[in-house]
């Protein structure tokens, strides 16, 4: 029978705590840049001019199709050589996940915008609005409301994906756990606790999202995925 011993975990809880904080910091940063970038990409993809829509489309497809870990390695190891800049793990991770999440958000935005019925843009144009005004005043406000659940789900996905940074030595929760496991020779306890921490945070977040979805469904809003 294995001798469980959680004492080293409690002794080093601050290490894990800092890791969790870094995970949240990275997720937050990626969201802050990813959302506006995603919106821009979506609008570019919907543009009439192929000069704008094709590169945007290609970027989105590329970052959605290639594995995130490959992207991370590229931004961490390859990019610094290309642009001759020192790259900390955080910066490499932030860039990777901002663009990666932007690619997924772009799809959510695009689906949301397209789901607004044509009559709305027709009415806006018939009043004499320009395409931009119609998007800003009529389409986007309605689309955003529908996309909120999908957004939150994508954000939760993002939080899970950030664990990849442990492989490039960014001190997120998983990295700290790995270090701690090696230091204390107690991988079972460390990783079990870590898994439970992740589960708790992410499960709580997804419960909030589900409640929000239900409330939106009650108020008659449809949602897009």
């Amino acid at each position: 029978m294995y001798n469980w011993d959680f004492a080293p975990i409690f002794a080093n809880s601050d290490v894990l705590g800092m890791g969790l904080l870094n995970t949240l910091k990275l997720t937050g940063t990626a969201l802050t840049f990813g959302v506006p970038l995603g919106l821009s990409l979506a609008l570019l993809r919907l543009s009439r001019w192929r000069l704008l829509s094709m590169p945007a489309g290609l970027l989105v497809e590329f970052f959605r199709t290639t594995p995130p870990l490959v992207q991370l390695f590229w931004f961490f190891f390859a990019l610094p050589i290309l642009v001759q800049v020192e790259m900390t793990p955080f910066v490499a991770a932030a860039i990777t996940f901002s663009i990666q999440s932007a690619a997924f958000f772009a799809e959510v935005f695009r689906a949301g915008i397209v789901s607004i019925e044509r009559g709305q843009s027709e009415a806006a144009l018939a009043l004499g609005m320009s395409g931009q005004q119609a998007m800003r005043r009529v389409i986007l406000p309605q689309a955003v409301k529908r996309m909120i659940p999908a957004f939150m789900e994508r954000s939760i996905e993002l939080m899970k994906t950030t664990t990849l940074v442990a492989t490039v030595s960014y001190a997120d929760l998983l990295f700290q756990a790995n270090e701690l496991a090696q230091k204390t020779f107690r991988p079972l306890e460390v990783f079990t606790v870590t898994a439970l921490i992740y589960f708790t945070v992410i499960y709580a977040a997804s419960l909030i999202v589900h409640r929000l979805e239900r409330r939106l469904a009650v108020s008659g809003e449809t949602t897009v995925h």
Partner: protein, 212 residues
């Protein structure tokens, strides 16, 4: 980069191997889990639900590392990188595909059940002959998406040094100091392989929507 085709081929073989393992196990287990979630028996429903909630809300990499580092402490035998990575990815996929199966089965109107039962079929026969064939048609897009996700997740196995494409990329980069070429090449390989598949799932989705 091209001087090491064997290395890349070995990596591709590794990627495919873990992909197939996780796809098969993930879908098979997912079907069981999905049926469990659909069942009215608490004995089936509760464990299935716990399974789904846990493995959907935990990052795959955490699970892989747990299986590789933590589980050997409990087991008397060695856990290879392939085993650890396969377990992590398969269980995660089973949780997601379980939900896909459940939603697919539930989406069929009860009229189908009644029609089958009125003909005298048992529950199992109805499930096998009437419900599942139709449900599978509806679930195909989501399941192919899952398959593509599994393929992408194969790269996580490199974290425990399993020989797949990314791992080989890392190897080549470290030997030749050419990370740009190495990782760009790996990224392109994945893109070239997966993009047609992704496009065909869009196509599949549209076709299925038409025939509905």
């Amino acid at each position: 980069m091209w001087a090491y085709p064997e290395a890349l081929l070995a990596g591709a073989a590794g990627t495919l191997r873990i992909f197939v393992i996780c796809l098969v196990v993930g879908l098979a287990l997912g079907l069981l889990v999905g049926l469990g979630r659909y069942s009215k028996l608490r004995l089936a429903y509760i464990p299935a639900s716990i399974f789904v909630e846990f493995f959907r809300n935990t990052p795959v990499l955490v699970q892989i590392l747990w299986f590789y580092f933590a589980m050997p402490m409990l087991m008397p035998f060695e856990i290879s990188p392939l085993m650890a990575a396969s377990l992590g990815i398969s269980l995660n996929s089973a949780a997601f595909s379980g939900e896909i199966f459940r939603a697919g089965i539930q989406s069929l109107e009860s009229g189908q059940w009644e029609g089958a039962r009125a003909l005298g079929m048992s529950q199992a026969q109805a499930m096998r002959r009437v419900i599942l064939p139709q449900a599978i048609k509806r679930m195909l897009p989501a399941l192919t998406n899952r398959a593509i996700e599994i393929f992408k997740m194969s790269t996580l196995a490199s974290a425990v040094a399993y020989v797949e494409l990314l791992q080989q990329g890392k190897l080549i980069a470290s030997i030749h100091y050419n990370p740009i070429e190495a990782y760009t090449c790996i990224a392109l390989l994945f893109f070239i392989f997966l993009y047609p598949l992704v496009q065909s799932t869009y196509f599949l989705e549209r076709k299925l929507r038409q025939s509905d």
